[in-house]
Symmetry: C2
């Protein structure tokens, strides 16, 4: 375990095979593959969901998580917010020559533990090795397949009057990672929110009629700002959000202020935005708050009648201003 990844781990011969065996051994019971080139998997009865994400998190290991956990959460959450049940996951790794095998082991343990919690199976994997300086330690890709046991949730099903809910605070993940990356000292006070959200989503969907939750999105890259603009465009109506309702922890607000960034632009890894029929908003809120990952759930706004695809913020003084879509968030590699 004091070994390092070397180029020969990536060339398809004996060392490659040993690396694959190492990966499969760590993944243990969440690994469903058969070590053939393609996994052979039981049929899925229904329409399929499929999504892919590469992860280039910097730093790859942080206070309460790592790139392995994020890589499983990111893809599980993308399937779950579409309304699908996550089933099959692939795991591909690009490893930089010199990476300590112990770090790979740690990331794989996180993959295993998070896949277990989310109830998804790893069905196929891939390892590639590049030279020192040709990548940055460890990059992961996960691709997930889910099955729809009820109709998919689509952005276009959102309608005027729908309430906009968040399952918890925004900005924590970004502040935590920036703090670890830059040595700012906030990282023990503000933890990443990284979590698989499919269990909480199942709880919500079980508590209200199927049509009550119109659409969901996990608030990741681009932050709440990007999500709201995406929905405003898709729905063709202004979304109005109350500044005072935005869930931002005291420490995160302070740190963000110091860093000159706005939490609504910050990437998260376990924050769920929900668009909910107004008559069911209370029930959804109650169900979210009863779940460990939704304790900080709040209603932050609603879809208005105004037929313009914009995002409005009602300030603490009652004045309404327009939130501009960012050109770039200037905070790379948080997921």
């Amino acid at each position: 375990m004091d070994q390092q990844i070397v180029l020969d781990h990536g060339t398809g011969a004996r060392l490659s095979r040993e690396l694959v065996e190492f990966v499969v051994e760590v993944l243990a019971d969440v690994y469903l593959g058969e070590m053939e080139d393609s996994a052979i998997l039981p049929p899925l009865d229904g329409a399929l969901a499929m999504t892919t994400d590469s992860f280039v998190v910097d730093p790859p290991f942080f206070g309460n998580g790592d790139i392995g956990k994020i890589a499983v959460c990111g893809t599980v959450n993308d399937l779950a917010v579409a309304g699908a049940q996550p089933r099959y996951l692939t795991l591909a790794m690009i490893l930089e020559s010199g990476l300590p095998l112990a770090q790979l082991h740690r990331a794989l343990e996180s993959v295993r533990d998070t896949a277990r919690e989310a109830g998804i199976k790893i069905v196929a994997g891939d390892t590639k090795v590049v030279g020192a300086g040709e990548a940055d330690g460890i990059f992961l890709n996960t691709t997930g397949v889910g099955v729809f046991t009820s109709p998919p949730k689509r952005m276009k099903d959102v309608t005027v009057g729908d309430k906009i809910l968040l399952s918890g605070p925004i900005g924590d993940h970004t502040i935590h990672l920036l703090s670890v990356r830059e040595g700012l000292g906030f990282e023990s006070n503000v933890l990443s929110d990284c979590a698989p959200l499919n269990g909480m989503i199942d709880a919500v969907r079980g508590a209200v009629p199927e049509s009550a939750v119109r659409s969901m999105r996990d608030v990741t890259r681009g932050g709440l700002n990007a999500v709201l603009h995406e929905y405003a465009s898709a729905v063709g109506h202004a979304l109005r959000v109350e500044e005072e309702a935005l869930p931002i922890s005291f420490e995160t607000a302070m740190a963000a202020d110091m860093l000159g960034i706005n939490p609504i632009n910050c990437a998260n890894e376990g924050c769920l935005a929900l668009f909910v029929a107004p008559e069911h908003a209370d029930d959804v809120l109650r169900t979210l708050r009863a779940h460990p990952y939704g304790k900080g759930a709040v209603v932050i706004g609603e879809v208005t009648e105004r037929p313009d695809p914009v995002v409005e913020l009602t300030g603490k003084d009652g004045r309404v201003s327009e939130v501009e879509e960012l050109q770039g968030a200037e905070l790379p590699r948080l997921c």
Copy 2:
């Protein structure tokens, strides 16, 4: 198009969205997604195949292909050799800041053209951007889902007496890439064999009874050597190969000799190994040779009765020697 990839292309805000729109526009008719987080896909009736591969090809653009073509072929071929019909493909990109947009465009056009040829749809994508020096230009990941319309082909179905066939020459892809990479001057004489093999595989399966082809493998990383050792281990019998039967072009043999490498250890991207019931070997050979990607098909050996998982080579002088499994191939980043 004289623009470059910048970090803001990866941060989830407006530039990210524009990059995704650019990708989808180039992919055109092979793109099936809906720009939601997960693609929503028609059900597949049968057991599923799933496989993933990351591609770190160096150089990413070469004489008769590029990383985009390889990324589609690699995953399509992994599905097809398992006996599945390739259906859905995801495409994830890790782009180094500074990459010319024109290069990305070129790689995406290859993805599109190859997906068209293979009859597979791109259903979801992802783009991540890292800083200059944190990756090497462009890394791709493709993950594919296929459906089994007849029983999967498994290694363990190979049995004593089966003939081992190759669809064409070995070593060309490696020699071509090394030549481009190192400026050796062979690259116009020896082209990469990179090709989607599912059409040829369908032709073979249509020409003989289903059980005639026991198992198939595309001969990629680790070369023929790795494939033969993998099968010898799975089958538990010695595989014997005739040195004189190995399809190696004159130019590739010369170049390999000069470089001190053996074509049986070289990565290929369009070479198919088939294990075939002896009474159907001639029919399979004829069908392969009638296909543009199988003109150089040959029988190279067979599965012997010897109950040891080894690979034997019968030399031109009739002497039998054992082929050792390589520790590493020492030729990184050919796929």
